[in-house]
Structure formats: C-alpha cells, structure tokens
C-alpha cells in the first residue's frame, strides 16, 4: 500500500514537473513570440516616412485621393493587379490619410500580422519552437520588411497567402469543413489581391483535394478557380500593351535575383560573399550534416 502510495506520489510529482516544464516552455515560447512580434513591428512602423513615394506608389496615392468610384474606374487602366488591396487601402486612408506613414501603415500592419500567422502555422506543423523561429525569420526578412513599407499589394498578398496556408494545414490535419471553407475564402481574397496568388492557392487546393478526397474540398477549390476565371478579363485588359521594365532582363538573371532578394532584400547589393548568402551556405551545410547524421543513425 505504502509502495503504491509512493508510486502514486511519484507519478503525481512527475506529472506536476512535466506540466510545470510545459507551462514554462509555453511561457518561454510565447514570450519569444511577443519579442519577435515587437521586433517585426519596430522594423516596419517607425521608419515608414523615411523614404519618398516612388513611381508605383504614386499610382496608389492618386487612386487613394480619388473618390471610390473614380478609383474603381482607374484601376483597370493604371494597375496590373485586382482591386482588393486598393479597396482596403482606400478605407484605411479615410482614417489615416495619404501621407507616407498613413498609406504605408496598412502594409506595415498586414506585414506584422503575417508574423503571427507564420508562428501559428509553424507551431501547428512541428512545434512552438519551429513557429517562433519561422516567425522570427519572417519578422526580420529584409524583403518582407521592404514590402511591408510599400503602398502596394505585396504585403497583403503575403499575409493572405500565409493565412490560406494556415487553414490548408488545418484542413489537412482535422476533419472540419469549416477549415476548408476558410481556406477557400482566404484563397479567393488572395487571388483578388494579386493574380500570382493563384499559382500558390491552386497548388494548395490540389493538395487539399488529394488529401481530403471529399466534395467539400472539390467545392472549395472550385470556388477559387471560379474567382480566378472571373478575374481573367480584367487581367487581360490590365496587361494588354503594357511594357514592364523587368522584361529587359534574362530569365536566368531574374531567377538569380529572386534568390538574392529573398535573402538580402530589395536593393542591397548582393554577392556570393554577402552575409545572408554565407548563412545560406551554412544552412545547406547543416542540412547535409543533419541528413548524414540521420542516415548514420
């Protein structure tokens, strides 16, 4: 009896220790997330007014200074993206104005919100630690910071894609139709923000149909495809006869630039000796080490 009581006591104290450990670990991860979120906000908000509006942003400024109807009429002629970002920014600027800080703060807000979504997604996929690390990397990524300070649709596109991926993962792991519905709605919003979102959400949608094999998943994908098809005439009109500066560069150099800008940001001159490139090499090396260690084990 005494021994059973002792075993019971020992089990209870182990349970308490484990709970305390989990709680302190959770508190630690949550504290780290708060720190990461604060860092992301500090990198995005205080310097919103440092830089001048540039050409592309000046289109947004003039759209924001128009009436709602005037803006909707002008979008097909001046923009190459669907109207959702402009509608949301138009509403935002009614409260915060069209100065550099007022207009760009909408992008900064959705850019900061992306950090939280990335954290939740990383936590759901692997662990809270993974969530914090992914959130930290999205908070400090120079390109995400750059576009969080630009009055264009890219930060909002990244946020909606992150939210869409979050519900895609939930729909994969839980048998809940609501997650499928949320994935579908967020994917539609992403496509209504930027046409290139379609490539990401359609891939996700096909994976969802493959994972779930249900009519709900097919219907959700169908809704996204329907919205995409409905936007095709606008996309064709917007891109007809327009010239884009990037077309002067070869595809190979543009692909190299994608890698460089994803690591080092928009304008900082990159080279094979830049800190991020070296870090990337280190990461690849550690990945190889991890693979080799795993194989040996």
């Amino acid at each position: 009896m005494a021994s059973r009581q002792g075993r019971g006591h020992s089990r209870t104290s182990t349970g308490f220790r484990s709970l305390r450990g989990r709680l302190s670990s959770n508190v630690g991860e949550r504290g780290a997330l708060c720190a990461v979120l604060a860092l992301g906000a500090i990198l995005r908000f205080p310097t919103l007014g440092v830089q001048s509006f540039w050409t592309d942003e000046s289109y947004t400024v003039e759209l924001m200074r128009s009436s709602f109807r005037g803006m909707m009429t002008a979008i097909p002629h001046t923009e190459s993206t669907p109207p959702l970002y402009y509608v949301s920014a138009w509403l935002w600027t009614r409260a915060f104005g069209t100065s550099e800080v007022g207009l760009r703060s909408w992008s900064a807000l959705v850019g900061t919100a992306t950090i939280i979504v990335v954290y939740r997604l990383g936590s759901d996929l692997i662990s809270e630690r993974a969530g914090v690390l992914a959130a930290a990397m999205s908070a400090c990524n120079p390109l995400l910071v750059w576009y969080s300070q630009e009055a264009r649709s890219y930060a909002m596109m990244a946020f909606l894609l992150a939210a869409s991926l979050y519900f895609l993962n939930r729909a994969r792991t839980r048998a809940n139709k609501r997650d499928v519905l949320y994935w579908s709605l967020l994917s539609c919003l992403a496509v209504c923000t930027h046409y290139f979102s379609a490539f990401f959400v359609l891939t996700g949608g096909l994976l969802l149909v493959y994972w779930r094999r249900s009519w709900a998943a097919v219907g959700a994908l169908g809704l996204v495809v329907g919205v995409g098809i409905a936007l095709i005439p606008l996309a064709r009109y917007q891109t007809e006869g327009k010239s884009y500066a990037f077309r002067g560069e070869s595809l190979v150099s543009r692909l190299a630039q994608v890698v460089k800008q994803f690591l080092d940001g928009y304008d900082v001159p990159g080279s094979c000796c830049s800190p991020s490139s070296r870090f990337c090499a280190l990461q690849l090396d550690s990945g190889r080490w991890f693979y080799v260690a795993g194989t040996e084990a």
């Binding site: 990198l43 830089q51 001048s52 509006f53 050409t55 942003e57 000046s58 289109y59 003039e62 002629h77 001046t78 990335v118 990383g122 996929l125 692997i126 662990s127 630690r129 993974a130 690390l133 992914a134 930290a136 990397m137 999205s138 400090c140 990524n141 120079p142 390109l143 995400l144 910071v145 576009y147 630009e150 264009r152 890219y154 596109m157 990244a158 894609l161 992150a162 930027h194 290139f196 490539f199 990401f200 996700g204 994976l207 884009y244 990037f246 077309r247 543009r254 692909l255 630039q257 460089k260 800008q261 994803f262 940001g265 928009y266 304008d267 900082v268 001159p269 991020s276 550690s286 991890f290």
Partner: protein, 204 residues
C-alpha cells in the same frame, strides 16, 4: 509548404518561355512565406537551429537598418527633388525625365500639387527646371542621368545645378517671360525615357 513555394515560382518562370512574361521577384513574393516556414521548421529540428536563426535575423536587421540609413538602397527620392522646386512668384516649366504616360501616377505631382501638364500651344515662363531622375534598375544601384540632350533655348541661362545620387536638377532663368511650347522644351532633357513637361503658375 515547399511544394507550394516551388510551384509558385516555377510556373510563372515557365510561363516566360511560353511568351507570358510577368516573372519578377515582387510577383512571386508569396513563395517567401512557405519558404520561411520550411526554414523555421528545418532549423527547429537541428541543434544549432536557434543560433542559425539568430544569425539570419541579425543579418536581416542589419540590412533593414542599412536601407533606412543609406539613400543608395532606398526608393527614388521624388520628395527631396520636389522640395528643391520651391514655389516661385513667376511661372515656370519643369522638364522631367522619365515622365509617365498615364494621367495619374506621376510621383512628382504627388508632392507638387500645383503643377499640371503644359498646354500644347505653349505658355509663358521665366524659369525652366530640368529634372533628370537617376535610373535604378530592379535591385541595382543608381545610374546618373545622361547629360542634356540639347542646349537650352535662348534667352534662358543656367543659374543653379544640383547633382544628387538620386537625381540631377538644372535651373535656367530668363530676364523676361517667354512663351514656349512643350514640344520645344522636351528637346532639352536629362537622361533617357519619356519626357513630361509641367507648368507651374506663379505662387501668389
């Protein structure tokens, strides 16, 4: 996640080969989200993951701070150019390169609301400001505008020159009002690309 990121970049890149060329970093920025998650999850699985993530974040912070502190890494500075173009008590023309074709989306007009496109028949001016914005290729560094394409019309004389990393501004002044047509003014410009000729009425 990785599959979503790879397809999101590979399909637009493949479309270039079929003649539908819209491939640029900003259009595939959506890939950065799943890639960040893959990297975060990968780092969480290895022992030095946190240290590596801290290194990556430190690099990002350094870059972000460098961008805010160094004009070389920043967007084109139309605001500073507009501040140099202080209002005058006489009418003037501004020759801007590169100018823009659309009726909206002119960055200089965002900061100088009093300017408008000069009438085709011409308008009287006493000052002509020639503004050439430095060209900045995607992700590259500033290339200063090429010199004046043609000498300025008489009787306008150069009175001031401002040369900055982001632009060059030349101020020409005449002792009297001269009626000039925009097509004549557009011949004398800095840099390459389309030319826009603005008119600013006197600031009363």
């Amino acid at each position: 996640m990785g599959v979503v990121a790879v397809v999101g970049v590979a399909v637009p890149a493949g479309m270039v080969l079929t003649g539908h060329d819209f491939f640029s970093t900003k259009n595939v920025i959506g890939a950065l989200v799943p890639l960040t998650i893959v990297a975060g999850c990968g780092l969480a699985l290895i022992r030095p993951g946190t240290a590596l993530a801290v290194c990556f974040c430190a690099t990002g912070i350094v870059v972000a701070v460098a961008v805010e502190g160094d004009p070389r890494y920043q967007r084109e500075d139309y605001r500073s150019a507009a501040h140099l173009l202080v209002p005058r008590h006489y009418p003037r023309a501004i020759i801007e390169t590169p100018g823009y074709y659309h009726r909206i989306g002119e960055p200089l007009r965002v900061y100088l609301s009093s300017i408008y496109r000069m009438r085709v028949v011409g308008q009287p001016v006493r000052e002509i400001d020639v503004l050439g914005m430095a060209h900045k290729p995607n992700g590259g560094s500033y290339v200063p505008p090429s010199p004046m394409s043609a000498p300025m019309l008489s009787p306008f004389r150069l009175v001031a020159r401002v040369r900055k990393l982001e632009y060059t501004l030349l101020e020409y002044r005449s002792p009297r009002l001269v009626v000039i047509r925009p097509v004549e003014l557009a011949r004398s410009h800095l840099g390459e690309g389309p030319v826009t000729v603005w008119y600013e009425p006197p600031n009363t």
